[in-house]
């Protein structure tokens, strides 16, 4: 299903199509998926006058082993329910959730608690025990799992070093900054050597700089320990910085899923497009927007916006356009960002109009762009 959209774009064919396609089909069908949702629906029954809610409907997708997968959606899209199905905090109304080859939705009591030890979770508000030091917070899951005291001490020291706060051993949460608290949270989640780490908006309460540091730490953990990470977020920047795969959730449905680069270079669903707009922006600078008029004027310029998608796409676009068509193309505004190694953004070009306001050059430019499969639109004219 992704193959068609990829081939439609020549610039994408450079670089990674084979690897991309292979990984894509692996994600969909591999028996080696770390987490697999099979026909999941989750309904909360009506309670005390509140009507019932269909939180999730017909969810079918797989999270590849060792990947970092972002689950993005607006609030109320069902993200929290989805992630809580993975570690058995919630039960599906229909379907099953297979984690590491085991149907977690069929487990209960002691079996469920044992399985939960191989699934770590971190939280938006850290959820540390205020009565325990950093070290004792990290020790808690180990105490619960029945580890020996000496083993706990050694493991806690190792984890504190791993998350870079070895010097905070004896500090209480009230003495730690937000970033440090989340590091304790991450160490605690990793204590029992889980194979999956669930992150529930783990950076939403942190400032941008701390967010970046925490996301870097998660990337390291994924790389060095091979832990599969599932990130729940409403922030596109988090997915862009960290995730390789993405699942876009809207009103309880998966509306798109696949590699971050593919999904965000060719967003299909309006929700996906709106998330992308958050990163690359789709509005023009005010000074330019205010000058745009709907009628061409002699000696002015036509304003054309070109969508840029793909590895290295757009690098030489303006130069080639100017050379091949012999035009004095001006660059009015540009916004290009990188998502999953792919360039995504838009260029706003000014194409000179003829002395009498003729649009010959504009037509040639649009033809040229469509020939090379760059989506383009004419926004209007400037004097």
């Amino acid at each position: 299903m992704k193959a068609a959209s990829m081939n439609a774009h020549p610039s994408l064919a450079i670089g990674r199509p084979i690897e991309t396609l292979a990984a894509m089909s692996a994600a969909a069908t591999a028996p080696d998926a770390m987490v697999r949702f099979e026909g999941i629906s989750k309904t909360y029954p009506a309670y005390r006058g509140k009507p019932g809610v269909n939180a999730l409907q017909d969810i079918d997708f797989a999270i590849p082993r060792g990947s970092i997968t972002g689950v993005i959606g607006r609030s109320g899209a069902g993200k929290s329910s989805l992630v809580r199905l993975i570690n058995g905090l919630e039960r599906p109304t229909k379907g099953r959730v297979v984690v590491d080859g085991r149907d977690i939705s069929a487990l209960a009591g002691r079996d469920l608690r044992l399985a939960q030890r191989s699934i770590g979770m971190i939280f938006q508000h850290f959820n540390l025990l205020s009565s325990r030091t950093a070290a004792a917070n990290i020790a808690l899951p180990l105490e619960i799992a029945g580890w020996a005291k000496a083993d706990i001490r050694a493991r806690v020291a190792e984890l504190l070093a791993l998350v870079g706060i070895a010097d905070k051993h004896d500090r209480y949460p009230s003495e730690l900054s937000g970033g440090q608290k989340q590091r304790v949270g991450i160490a605690r989640a990793l204590a029992t050597r889980p194979s999956v780490l669930l992150s529930d908006e783990a950076t939403s309460a942190l400032d941008p700089q701390t967010t970046r540091a925490i996301l870097d730490l998660l990337a390291n953990i994924n790389r060095e320990l091979g832990v599969t990470i599932v990130l729940i977020t409403h922030e596109m920047s988090v997915v862009r910085q960290l995730a390789r795969d993405v699942v876009v959730l809207d009103a309880g449905h998966v509306v798109e899923s696949g590699h971050v680069a593919d999904i965000f270079t060719h967003p299909k669903h309006p929700i996906t497009q709106s998330f992308l707009a958050e990163v690359i922006g789709d509005s023009l600078p005010v000074s330019l927007a205010s000058r745009i008029v709907s009628e061409p004027a002699a000696g002015g310029q036509a304003v054309i916006r070109v969508q840029v998608r793909g590895a290295g796409a757009g690098d030489t676009l303006v130069a080639r356009l100017a050379r091949e068509l012999g035009l004095d193309v001006s660059l009015l505004s540009a916004r290009i960002d990188e998502i999953g190694g792919q360039h995504v953004g838009s260029l706003t070009l000014g194409i000179p109009l003829g002395m009498s306001g003729g649009e010959d050059a504009t037509t040639r430019t649009l033809d040229w762009l469509s020939q090379y499969q760059f989506p383009a639109e004419r926004l209007g004219y400037v004097a």
Binding site: I119, N127, L129, L140, I144, Y172, S174, E175
Partner: protein, 221 residues
């Protein structure tokens, strides 16, 4: 004040401490688990048992709304059954305990409910059993509140203990009524009140201090 009277005060103080101390201890032994259960047994909670929760809640309310002096008299047969007698300090511990346990349970319930629900979810997420959640998360996190609750219970018990003089329980309240009031000895009444005030101050200060010691929530560098 004569040495005999001073001796009487010392003896009465001892009786009061004996009654209150033991009643607080046994009351906590029943009230703490009851309070934890009340705080965790509503629909969807850790030990969800909504009907049992309702019934226990009503029993607790009934006990708490019975005036203490009526409770003391009403349960005399039960007191005799448990303590072997219905007269004296040891016998008085029975109604004091029965009055304090539901009181402590309600205070414990409130303290436990103060603990952030996110912590229960967190502990569940790494496979803690409900019992482990109570022992390793809820009680340690609620400890400052629990200590203040216990302090309040002990102070209330000191007040109640003055009433058990009515059934020959002895103690400071009894001394104050018999000597200070019935024998017109204002200096005795004053002495008893001063000792009671001192005891309440002591208990409250000790409770506040301990609660502050274990509260890490507001400690700063």
């Amino acid at each position: 004040m004569s040495p005999e009277l001073i001796n009487l005060i010392i003896q009465a103080t001892g009786e009061s401490l004996y009654m209150v101390g033991l009643a607080a201890l046994i009351g906590t032994a029943f009230g703490l688990p009851l309070g934890v259960f009340l705080a965790t047994s509503r629909k969807g909670e850790l030990f969800a048992a909504p009907i049992v929760n309702r019934v226990l809640g009503m029993v607790v309310n009934a006990t708490r709304s019975t005036p203490f002096i009526i409770l003391v008299v009403a349960i005399i047969p039960f007191t005799r059954l448990v303590a072997g007698t219905s007269i004296g300090s040891t016998a008085a511990i029975v109604p004091l305990t029965i009055a304090s346990a539901p009181f402590i349970a309600r205070l414990v319930e409130a303290a436990i409910r103060e603990v952030d629900g996110g912590l229960i979810e967190t502990a569940s997420s790494f496979g803690a059993s409900p019992m482990q959640i109570v022992l390793k998360v809820l009680i340690p996190e609620a400890l400052p509140g629990l200590l203040l609750a216990l302090t309040l219970a002990v102070v209330s018990l000191l007040g109640y203990s003055a009433m058990v003089g009515a059934v020959g329980g002895g103690g400071l309240g009894d001394l104050g009524i018999r000597y200070g009031y019935q024998r017109f000895m204002p200096e005795m009444m004053l002495a008893v009140v001063v000792v009671l005030i001192a005891l309440v101050q002591l208990v409250q200060s000790a409770g506040d201090y301990l609660a502050r010691r274990v509260n890490r929530r507001l400690r700063h560098r």
